[in-house]
Amino acid sequence: MAFTDEQLERYSRHIILKEIGVKGQKKLLAGKVLIIGAGGLGAPAAMYLAAAGVGTIGIADADKVDLSNLQRQVIHTTNDIGKRKVESAAETMRAINPDITVNTYYDFVNSSNIMDLIADYDFILDGTDNFPAKFLINDACVMAGKPFSHAGIIRFKGQLTTVIPGEGPCYRCIFKNPPPKDAVPTCKQAGVIGAMGGVIGSLQAMEAVKYLTGVGELLSGYLLTYDALKMEFHKVKLPPRGDGCAVCSDHPTITELIDYEQAACDMKQ
């Protein structure tokens, strides 16, 4: 595939980079990333991946744009209130870069649809806001052998890690089970500073770009935490993938996907 003059100009700042170059940009254009959640994390990630020319981007979310989303979900605008988030997100992404294909999935991910959803993608980005979804994404990606970026944000804190199934530890290696319902506040109850999604979601996009191009070292085997109030980043080394994990060890005890119950206050009205 040869670049058009327009593509050369659009991606010139990538092509100039020694580590990316022509080959790296072609890998991005051939790359397929699925973003689950078009919210605080998914919004900046989707915009950067679209701008970067990731050729196929899927975006899954069952919500509609709400006024209270706009403080952080920068892919949506005031005019989008009431629209499906996936449609609003896709419009912004196509406006940024008409070069790419955006697939929208107006659906909650659950144990019956997630394997089909992730099957066509090279890398998955978890931009969800609840533990049942995070464990489901982890388990599905481990079972399907799909690398993914996990992230979570709350108040002034954020964290992320990258999971390469079969190589590094998975989310369940760190956190064995979801916390009891209501033991941990959601960001709806606890609040979250708007730019946190920008920081952590952009780091997730960076991991996706690095995975697709094969450049640099991924955050596999580490948890990166960010405390905005203290202005501290910590890169915490995780124990290696071991025998103990219920899903990613060589003898897993979890072999089927689980739909954990959501805290009642988070359910759709």
Binding site: F3, L8, E9, S12, R13, V22
Partner: protein
């Protein structure tokens, strides 16, 4: 044209574009060539002459020579290094 002790395999003209597309076009042309082949680049004096040879050398390619055409343009000869 000056006497060259090598054969030119490909030629591009980047006088109609500005920085950084000058370098991008040169990089793309080299990407499509084989290791050891020589690219001749027709470029303007000023920013292109200052930046393109240096950037190409930073990428690990061999800048063979840069000839002044005497009309505000130059001929740059690059041997591709690596695949």
């Amino acid at each position: 044209m000056a006497d060259l002790d090598f054969t030119v395999d490909e030629t591009i003209d980047i006088t109609s574009v500005t920085c950084p597309v000058t370098f991008v076009k040169t990089k793309v042309a080299l990407d499509e060539m084989d290791e050891g082949q020589v690219l001749q680049v027709h470029l303007n004096d000023g920013e292109p002459r200052q930046n393109v040879p240096r950037s190409i050398a930073d990428e690990g390619h061999e800048v063979l020579r840069l000839d002044d055409n005497g009309d505000g343009t130059y001929e740059l000869y690059i041997r591709k290094v690596g695949d």
